[in-house]
């Protein structure tokens, strides 16, 4: 097969998980996409596939996306067995087709966990994360005048650590990549961002206990420190946040009334 030098299009084989709804067992279906530009993002490549499918009167592949610039946490996908694909510190929407070459076969599956049921094709329901957040991932603040920004002093290093934890976009790649489908990196980040700051202190113990309970309630697995979550996380959330969650939970168990 000759490729047009000017267009530099790639011909790819995609094996995509298709599943009508939560009850359908689903399975991988093979598709060909032709003339894929290396400039395209992975999601644009899926858009091209979907245009082809719709033109042929078939159902488009359902997948999640929103901002397409790595900030919203909506995109997902397990690409060739890697959450958000092969790149480090990047979401699927930030993955570009220049990563691939003509003739490649790419397998695309949904994020898999009991707590993330498949809705359709590659779309999974990640509302378990919302429920964990609702259990304690907040600070209660009285309304009224805004307080003086310099009234509460926070060491620079502490502020940086809290900001690093707060960078979590709730995408769920940590769960998807974890051999145990554990949500400890996500919950660790959410507990840490408040535990580190003075504003988080009043609800510190309540938060750790409630978020742990909500996490287990959703059916996520137990962390065995494989650290695949950290390697997969597009925001480079560190596993030191998991250690902090372990500490916070142990501390809350011991000291809270």
């Amino acid at each position: 097969m000759t490729t047009n030098n000017e267009a530099k299009g790639m011909n790819l084989t995609l094996k995509i998980w298709r599943q009508k709804d939560a009850r359908d067992p689903g399975g991988l279906v093979e598709y060909k996409v032709e003339n894929v530009s290396p400039e395209m993002s992975f999601l644009e490549m899926l858009d091209v596939l979907n245009e082809q499918l719709v033109a042929k009167g078939q159902d488009a592949v359902a997948f999640d996306h929103d901002c397409r610039e790595g900030i919203c946490g909506m995109c997902s996908l397990m690409i060739d067995g890697q959450a958000h694909g092969p790149d480090k510190a990047a979401t699927t929407c930030q993955l570009h087709m220049r990563r691939y070459k003509d003739g490649d076969t790419i397998t695309v599956e949904p994020f898999r966990a009991k707590a993330f049921p498949v809705v359709r094709d590659l779309v999974v329901d990640r509302s378990a994360f919302d429920r964990i957040q609702q259990a304690g991932g907040f600070v209660s603040v009285n309304t009224g005048n805004a307080r003086d920004a310099n009234g509460v002093l926070i060491p620079h290093e502490t502020a940086e650590k809290a900001m690093d934890a707060a960078a979590c976009i709730g995408c769920g790649a940590c769960v998807a990549a974890c051999p145990n489908a554990s949500a400890m990196l996500f919950v660790g980040a959410k507990v840490s961002q408040y535990a580190l700051l003075p504003q988080g202190q009043p609800e510190r113990e309540k938060r750790a206990l409630a978020m742990r309970a909500a996490m287990d309630e959703e059916g996520f697995g137990h962390c065995t420190n494989e650290y695949e979550c950290e390697a997969a996380c597009p925001k480079e959330i560190k596993v030191s946040n998991i250690a902090r969650l372990n500490r916070e939970y142990l501390r809350a168990t011991l000291v809270s009334e």
């Binding site: 609702q134 065995t224 420190n225 390697a231 596993v239 372990n246």
Partner: protein
């Protein structure tokens, strides 16, 4: 906001904090880690005792007698059994929960190379160690089967004349090394100890501990099984003081 209501909708069996802790994912892991680390301390003392085998029969038998005559031994043995039961029961429960947490497996799973040979085989090496311990305790402590030597030294080294028995020890001890290569540093992380300065040290010391324990124990079946077949009564035995402790010295 009903979502933020304090008591969980599923009625807890008991209002007791300890039960909640032990039923929780994090609590279970903390107990597995604590029991695992105490078992590591046991391994160290057990290794030190066993290396006395290399000093010959009389020295080893004296050590064995000293152990057995210690009135605190049943207490220590009971504690050890409890540690094993905690470690195994909670680790198995965690493992079962983890299998349930991903009911549909990936067709392709590659990950990003964070796993290690030790971390990805914890359940396998743990089971191997369990089978090993059962065989080890049955044959050495309760002396089921094997040539009944006149002394413990003869009994132990006699078992290693069987290449199948010595070979199984070699395989199982490599399993112990693998288990610890992940387990030690993992336990510290589970206990909440992660620090930019100390974690690299903990990882290095954990790996060194795993190697020390594995090679230390391996030296015994390898030496007595495949290098020398020590006679039941070592030739130099007569020359060494062999009375009960508290005797000569």
């Amino acid at each position: 906001m009903p979502a933020a209501e304090a008591p969980a909708p599923t009625a807890p069996r008991c209002n007791c904090r300890a039960v909640e802790f032990l039923e929780s994912s994090i609590g279970k892991k903390i107990m597995v880690a604590l029991a695992g680390l105490f078992l590591c301390v046991f391994l160290l003392t057990h290794l030190a005792g066993n290396l006395i085998l290399f000093l010959g029969g009389p020295a080893f038998d004296r050590y064995a007698q000293m152990l057995e005559s210690n009135p605190l031994l049943p207490l220590a043995e009971g504690g050890l059994v409890v540690l094993f039961l905690i470690h195994i029961a909670l680790a198995v429960r965690a493992r079962l929960a983890n299998m349930a947490a991903r009911p549909v497996a990936y067709q392709v799973y590659k990950g990003k190379d964070a796993r290690t040979p030790g971390s990805s085989t914890m359940a396998l090496t743990g089971t191997l160690v369990l089978v090993f311990i059962i065989i080890h305790v049955a044959t050495i402590k309760f002396q089921v089967g094997g040539a009944k030597g006149p002394d413990l030294f003869g009994h132990v080294t006699g078992w290693f004349h069987n290449p199948l028995y010595a070979g199984f020890y070699v395989v199982a001890l490599i399993g112990v090394g693998l288990h610890l290569s992940h387990g030690v540093q993992s336990a510290f992380q589970t206990l909440g100890l992660n620090h930019p300065r100390y974690t690299p040290m903990i990882k290095a010391l954990g790996a060194a501990f795993a190697i020390l324990i594995a090679l230390g124990f391996l030296s015994i079946p390898v030496y007595f099984g495949f290098i020398v077949h020590a006679p039941a009564t070592p030739p130099n035995g007569a020359a060494m003081p062999s009375g009960p402790i508290g005797g000569a010295q």
